[in-house]
Symmetry: C2
Subunit: 352 residues, 2 copies
């Protein structure tokens, strides 16, 4: 099979972790007789520096032409405390999501038995956790009208949702639940927000099409609590963009395996795979970042974008092997020997 | 001193826990020679049942005439899954906040040494945590324009903030930080939202008036993570209404002492004191709910609304004593003897 993959390394540790995912993917492709055609493109702060724009048209064309996109991370602290900056790396991310129609961010949270003691939660709280948060990614307050009034002294943002946007995301959630624990939790703030009431109404109307799925409705504040208290009680969670931003990040730290969590963004035009950790600028260029989340994102890509399940399993198996044998970066090494980012990548590629 | 207090017991376990706070407050008043004049009023689902309206005008007048308001909890599950219900208990809460001008919700999260093992977090993560979240309570998306378009198939909500609203809340935050650890964290989503950029800009402008306070700016998704990872790194957190709703609830469960956390809502016209737990309808009428959060809310009221610090300390001391001696409700009893809600209240009042 020929696989055309757009490669968006981005900023910070992005390029380093992407390099390892490329090595591992090439090794898998070789083993299984596939041919990968990688096309690199700029995005984020590095694209602003190069062409003054965080998601250049050329990058968009490369993504549109690809079968899948493998993404590192973007962002640079020099933009964070400057509320008046007019061009921001994050705008590139939002533009990319919108233009590629990446409407569903799929974020699994699961545990690795060998890493469970890294969790800030007690073992008995986190054990058995295996949940997926499906975050709507191209609607809501991220993309509504916003601006200033009264000489800049009043600011507003608008959260808008249409029934179709909700149905599209919820359908994916119901289907995913059917392949797993058959439980779906719709998270909203329907006791206050009109957009949340539309979410709840729409999902309630869809229940009859998936009679086997047990659906619950919970308020976002209650879920922020229960994710810490009883994360293993969840199966598939669906929610709107801003709530998803907060809850996926909260969920990511409870497993103790933040540096290992992959994600997918399912799109109308293509799909994108990326580690959930950010650009981690303090570590950039030091060859110390953990590449496993990006490698596991490549595994998700093989399985979901290309239907290559065996290849995905081969990647997951070699990752488990590296964990078992302690071939890990400093964040996971404890008192044991530490490997460099590139050494972990080399080891994984060699042991596929 | 004459203390005029409006008593809003509300729904679910509200009346039971409020009863105990009244007993303890009366005992303190007697001991220190004060006279409390309690005036009860309806709010929440019980007010809807009685007069068709969750925050009746009569209740508002009673609150306006009082020096402080002691509040239980409101809400009833029969409203939760009915997105079309037109009168909801929560509307009463929002109307009350707005009409009383309760612009700042003050939510401390701290630990009780004897309860630290109840926390879902590991001991070393939670030990030493002592933070306050200041949530803006009368602005933002809770009170913006909202509605439907396109035959009900599009829903929108608007988040609006003015510079004055932000200044008022932030000023309280800076002042509070000055009496504590002198650290202030402003939580927003300034990489996406215009209202968040106004928050950041406004707080940045105020930094010069409080040169001793170290101010940091963090994105809400990052804070949702760090609250679970390193809660003890925070001192005072200020944030807008919706982020505050989510983060205060998340923070409330990490201490392991959810049933003990009090809160205050500081207002233009009066201030309101309430436990942070909800109406817990499953336990209503069973005399099993933990009254300590409400009793500690009364302590906050003595100190903050009336400047009666000694009286507040007397309440806190007797609460600590009850914990040390195991005079506790079932949620805290473990394998030991369990006391009823009313028994705990009686014991506290007798030991003031
Ligand atoms: C960088 C930011 C705009 C982005 C978001 O809020 O969506 C990030 O937090 C994420 O979750 O991918
Ligand atoms: C009941 C609801 C409207 C309310 C809120 O969101 O403010 C509650 O969650 C709270 O935090 O007091």
């Amino acid at each position: 099979m020929k696989l055309n993959i757009a490669l968006l390394a981005g900023d910070g540790i992005g390029p380093e972790v992407i390099d390892q995912a490329v090595k591992v993917s090439d090794a898998v492709a070789k083993k299984f007789g596939h041919e990968i055609n990688w096309t690199s493109a700029l995005t984020g702060a590095c694209a602003i520096d190069a062409v003054g724009e965080p998601y250049p048209d050329e990058t968009h064309e490369i993504c549109m032409a690809a079968d899948a996109v493998l993404f590192g991370a973007i962002g640079h602290p020099r933009f964070d405390n400057d509320p008046k900056a007019t061009v921001r790396p994050e705008q590139g991310l939002l533009k990319m999501r919108k233009k590629l129609g990446l409407y569903a961010n799929v974020r699994p949270t699961f545990t690795f038995p060998s890493l469970i003691d890294n969790s800030p939660l007690k073992r008995e709280r986190i054990e058995g956790t295996d949940l997926i948060i499906l975050r709507e990614l191209t609607g809501g307050i991220y993309f509504g009208e916003r601006g200033r009034k009264d000489d800049g002294n009043t600011a507003f943002d608008t959260c808008t949702y249409t029934r179709e946007e909700i149905q599209r995301l919820a359908k994916l959630g119901f289907e995913m639940a059917m392949t797993r624990g058959k439980k779906l939790c719709c998270v909203d703030k329907a006791n206050v927000l009109e957009s949340s009431r539309l979410w709840r109404e729409t999902v309630q109307d869809m229940e009859k099409d998936f009679p086997e799925v047990t659906v619950s409705y919970e308020f976002v504040d209650a879920v922020a609590m229960r994710l810490v208290q009883w994360p293993s009680s969840y199966d598939v969670i669906i929610t709107e963009n801003l709530f998803g931003d907060i809850l996926t990040d909260e969920a990511s730290v409870i497993s103790g395996s933040m540096g290992l969590m992959p994600s997918a963004s399912v799109g109308v035009h293509t799909s994108l795979y990326e580690p959930i950790h950010g650009s981690y600028p303090q570590a950039a260029g030091k060859d110390i970042a953990n590449p496993l989340a990006t490698v596991l994102s490549a595994a998700m890509m093989f399985e979901d974008a290309f239907g290559l399940k065996e290849e995905a399993e081969a990647i997951r198996a070699v990752v488990n092997k590296s964990l078992a044998e302690g071939i890990v970066t400093e964040d996971l090494a404890g008192k044991n020997k530490t490997y460099k980012t590139s050494e972990v990548g080399d080891w994984l590629a060699a042991h596929i």
